[in-house]
Amino acid sequence: MQGIPIQPEQASTIAQSVDHLYFFITAVTLFFSVLIFSTIFYFMIKYRRRSPDERPKAIEGSLPLEILWTAVPTLIVALFFVWGSTLYFQNSEAPPGAMEIFVTGKQWMWKVEHPEGQREINELHVPLGHPVKLTMTSEDVIHDFFVPAFRVKKDVLPGRYTTMWFEPTKLGTFHLFCAQYCGAFHAGMIGSVIVVEPDEYESWLQGGVQGETMEAAGARLFKENGCVTCHLADGSGPAPSLAGVYGNTVHLTNGQTVTADDAYIRESILSPAAKIVRGYQPVMPSFQGQLSEEQILDLVAYIRSIGLSQGNAKEKQQEEGKK
């Protein structure tokens, strides 16, 4: 058996706990398989037909036995359910203070953008021992961001953001796979997650940056696309000021409210008429097809930055503290 791997590397904080559950289920199912198979083999030998005239007595069944073998599997699956769900639930939200990185999938590559402006393709550099939250979207079809060594996986969908997070615990290079079939070169939509020491990550971020930070790129796009002509900072324009909006509650003309998060801002750029802020007219044109997903992410980053710096940074911090 030498040379056949049987376990993937454990390189994130959750890998070990997922493996514990995996091995627990393996042990329980193995136990029941052996129990069932050995009972069958025992009966097969003990009760083999010895003469063609044998006519065994009929047995109706047994209510106590039926109750027993309904109750035992029920208890066992209940345990699996509680364990699996707790683990999943605990890891469903990124811890506060996680660093954010943005991922765009397209046939057949992964494009990564760090807030500091560093970009990479089919590679993702992350620092050791720091939680990382990925915000992901797709330019075309459904992809799936899968890092086996981290035991994490999440679909990457066109038209919306999904998020996932992990905290690497091991230095090295790990497989990144697309795990949702996405067309001809699906198998080639693979890359590497490269875990480095935090200071090495810092110097990597600085090294060879030609571009601007995501916020700066967003601010530039905000001007270039004319957003700034209506969304005046003092709120006197035909569109609401975006300063301090991010993370806050927005009141809409239809009486509903919505929290201004990434998804809301993205929707407002692409389908402005979907949710109109109270007191304003639906005059904004759609930017569908005019901005790439990465440019939209830059704009979101910019709007987030003016949201946090001007006004509600305190509230935001309180909210995160609560979580």
Binding site: I4, F32, I36, I40, F43, Y47, P56, G61, F146, H186
Partner: protein
Amino acid sequence: MSTATLEPRVQSPRNYLNADYGWKSWLFTVDHKRIALLYMASITFFFVIGGFFAFLMRLHLIEPQGALVQPETYNKLFTLHGVIMIFFFLIPSIPAVLGNFLVPLMIGARDLAFPKLNLLSWYIYIVGGLFTLYSAIAGGVDTGWTFYTPYSSTYSNTQVTAVAVGVFITGFSSILTGLNFIVTIHKMRAPGLTWFRLPLFLWAIYATSIIMTLGTPVLAITIFLLALEHLFHVGIFSPQLGGDPLLFQHLFWFYSHPAVYIMILPAMGVVSEIIACFARKRIFGYKIVGFSSVAIAVLGFLVWGHHMFVTGQSVYAGLIFSFLSFLVAIPSAIKVFNWTSTLYKGSISYEAPMLYALGFIGLFTMGGLTGMFLASLATDVHLNGTYFIVAHFHYIMVGGAVMGYLGGLHFWWPKISGRKYPNGWAMLSAAIIFIGFNLTFFPQFILGYLGMPRRYAFYPAEFQVLNVMSSAGASILGIGYLIPLVYFIWSMRYGPVAEANPWGATGLEWQTPSPPPTENFAEIPVVTEEAYAYSAEEEASRA
């Protein structure tokens, strides 16, 4: 037709096979037994094609960079393998072949409730099949059998419409067959054949028919919407057109998860019949086994979201779907325990059908238990979309459903053909299939846990050893499937003539000659006892 050719047959009594020989007597038949044989020939044809595609895929994956074809071709191979095996082989397999043949015989009726509708079902199936074959010849389709949007609806340039039409049409065959069985089982049971005297095969077929009639329309609508978006860019699933990319998955799995039970429930029914016969025992806990089929059919409609744990659906939806998925495991476990207990103090003989049935229990148990890893949220996140899934569903659908179908064919072949097949060869092929199957699919569990995604035309070199093992197993499995094909065909001409009840089984189908006359029974039987009256007293009361 000259009288000379008829002469040697004059001795054998008239039956459904020698009633007429012309091609019209087959293509325009309304005899459920002949329609069963039409289905048998057609699904065997599709099985050979689908199996050939699987063989090419396994050959291709021997080398990490891919040994045989371009990635585009590989994608078409796994798509057509899935579409053909699921919609044109597995779903019709036991219901349309064994169900068609046996439902009237087992309930003591002369035919199904709607014989012409039954023939129509077969023609619909064939038309759907022709569309699918056309799509394969006209360039293939590369969406995967799951047709996920928006890839299938707006990005793929392959024959999506032709396959969609094929699957859409074939769905109606399934709906009509299910409807026919439900009405027949309700209205045409022989005098004295109460619900709790029905063979468990009929309970399973009944539960399956409910899924077919209630679930398939949803698939038909979904596939129709997909074709609509693909052809006319109506925005339903594609976000660029204002649609919702996940809506398709909800609708698709609402049918396609229950479809797994369309494939496995009838096999469970077959296994109940075989175990009872070869252990000469009534099925332990008959009613509970029967009701567990119904429970699986009902719960099966409520678990579709477990295919979508990593799509970003709400964590609360994930919790509920995980919980319900675990619940389905319980009736399945109950069945396995009851089959095992049926062997207790039985009189067990080992002939080919029994080997297939025991093989079913082994492989189905492993398939079912590996489902625990996928119903559990935290482990599913890692295993979803990998080879673990591929292995799991092949254990259920091939290890379970195909083993069950082959077991049923071996059990009822003397009844269907009036001939016996060579038992030694049949036992050998059962063993070869069992070994080949495990060698093919067990390594895939490990591959999946290691993280190898499914549907990869090439892969990192570290996965090669396990892939080569799997491919080696597939070639053994292929031989295991070819042997029965040869001896079944051989036996139709050269096999020893079978008596009416070669296995000493209970059940109305064994009380009429092999092969049965066109009208099934000279006189409609009256039933006075339960389904598995194998004990000495019951046998005495019959005589």
